[in-house]
């Protein structure tokens, strides 16, 4: 096997089986199929600085973390939360994926269907980048990787970390990505198992190459996370949704899907009215799933 390319066997698995028509404006096809009513104009601009919108309540916020996750993605704090989250949510109820996968989907803000190898590549890629950056700052922190594997993947298999550290100093082998590729068997297998437990990896062969394209993908994922680092925090709802909410979101604020908005919004009850807290990114609500629970009548929200 040439260095820098890796062949693994993966089933082309649509990780999220269902593709929804949506409220999301990025899906014009939904409008073509007569679903335009979900988009239809229903907002009323009333006098008195009040915005009246119509939609549905999804669920109140249960907890909001305070981890500035991108800046210290390799930090024990984030890993601690990941571990805690996965322990509480083996399965991510809203979409049926694993909690582990849900966590990473939120991290890279990818809600749509992904094939197993793409998901694997991106999750691995982003972690490699993080660990690499951490390691560049504090070389001893490659131990984060060990913590990561041990806690999250539940494995006690040893990995040759001294080798990773050595590779950092070899010209042309600076990235953790490359060092991982030098011994991928263990890591990828465990990662895949955590992402897609029971996944039958025997029937199809995919090549996961250490290509520029893959590196770019990881970097662009990193950029997405970076951009989110300042204002956004992990938040969980009572309904079990996990996502990113504005930094100062409080428990009790309500995640709502409202007609005319491409993002779910968080509204804070204030008497019989609401205050707009901000938009949010919730896994399992980004592709119009909210439309599934649409009844005949929508709730009216008066936002002040």
């Amino acid at each position: 096997m040439p260095h820098g390319s890796l062949t693994i066997r993966l089933l082309p698995c649509p990780v999220m089986s269902k593709v929804y028509d949506g409220w999301a404006m990025s899906q014009p096809a939904a409008a073509d199929r007569g679903l335009a009513r979900y988009y239809a104009s229903a907002s009323v601009f009333a006098l008195g600085n009040k915005l009246t919108v119509f939609g549905i309540r999804i669920s109140p916020i249960l907890r909001r973390e305070n981890i500035p996750f991108a800046r210290c993605a390799g930090s024990p704090k984030l890993i601690s939360y990941l571990r805690d989250y996965v322990a509480r949510n083996r399965v991510y109820k809203p979409t049926g994926t694993t909690g582990f996968q849900a966590f990473f989907r939120v991290l890279i803000q990818q809600s749509g269907p992904m094939r197993a190898n793409e998901l694997l590549a991106r999750v691995q890629g982003i972690w490699d980048r993080f660990i690499h950056e951490e390691a560049a700052k504090r070389p001893a922190d490659t131990k984060v990787y060990r913590v990561f594997l041990k806690w999250i993947l539940g494995t006690r298999r040893s990995y040759d970390y001294s080798r990773l550290r050595q590779l950092h100093s070899v010209p042309g082998c600076e990235t953790m990505w490359q060092s991982l590729l030098s011994k991928p068997e263990d890591f990828l297998r465990y990662l895949l198992e955590a992402l897609l437990p029971g996944h039958d990896a025997s029937s199809t062969i995919f090549t996961l190459a250490n290509s520029d394209a893959n590196m770019l993908l990881a970097i662009s994922d990193l950029a997405a996370v970076r951009a989110a680092e300042g204002m956004w925090r992990f938040a969980e709802t009572e309904s079990g949704h996990l996502g990113l909410a504005p930094k100062f979101t409080e428990p009790g604020d309500v995640v709502c899907v409202i007609r005319g908005s491409s993002h779910p919004v968080i509204l804070r009850p204030a008497g019989d009215k609401f205050v707009h807290v901000g938009v949010c990114w919730m896994l399992g609500l980004m592709d119009g799933e909210g439309a599934e629970s649409l009844g005949e009548s929508l709730e009216k929200f008066e936002i002040v």
Binding site: M25, Y39, S41, N49, V277, G278, V279
Partner: protein, 158 residues
């Protein structure tokens, strides 16, 4: 006066836009025009009317730095062509300008035979919210805060 910020956004969503802004003032003029034309073509190709393109353009105000808070809207009127009239006097507050902006948009939005595929009716909520813009003095929580948005590189990332 309105201009592109010196520091560029990391936002993936807007990377295409920012690439045009990245090249400095001179290039900006032509690149930006090219971008606008391209964008118009895209929207036209989808059958949306040019009015909507103007409104889409007006949202660029949330990405551009301006010397006056009202200029995030007023500074782009020449390009966007939306039906607002500049009023810099104290009788019209910044909050009023942004409220009028939303009102004008909703009036346009309501008359559209089919819903927009490029600009959600409530797009402005992305630029509003007390927790994304805790310092906002725009009266109501739903009023878009373009000045604050332009100052912050991360609020638009989702």
């Amino acid at each position: 006066m309105i201009r592109a910020p010196e520091s560029l956004s990391d936002s993936v969503h807007d990377s295409a836009t920012w690439r045009y802004f990245a090249s400095g003032t001179w290039d900006l003029t032509f690149a930006y025009l090219g971008y606008i034309i391209n964008r118009f073509d895209l929207i036209a190709g989808r059958g949306d009317d040019s009015l909507e393109s103007g409104w889409w353009l007006s949202t660029m105000g949330a990405r551009l730095q301006a010397t006056h808070h009202k200029d995030h809207i007023y500074g782009l009127l020449g390009l966007s062509g939306i039906s607002l009239h500049p009023n810099y006097s104290d009788s019209v507050s910044t909050a009023d300008v942004y409220s009028q902006y939303v009102k004008a948009w909703l009036d346009v939005s309501k008359t559209r035979p089919t819903p927009s595929t490029s600009l959600p009716e409530l797009f402005f909520l992305q630029f509003a919210g007390i927790c994304l813009f805790p310092d906002q003095d725009l009266h109501a929580s739903w009023v878009p805060n373009y000045p604050a948005s332009a100052m912050s590189s991360d609020v638009k990332s989702i």
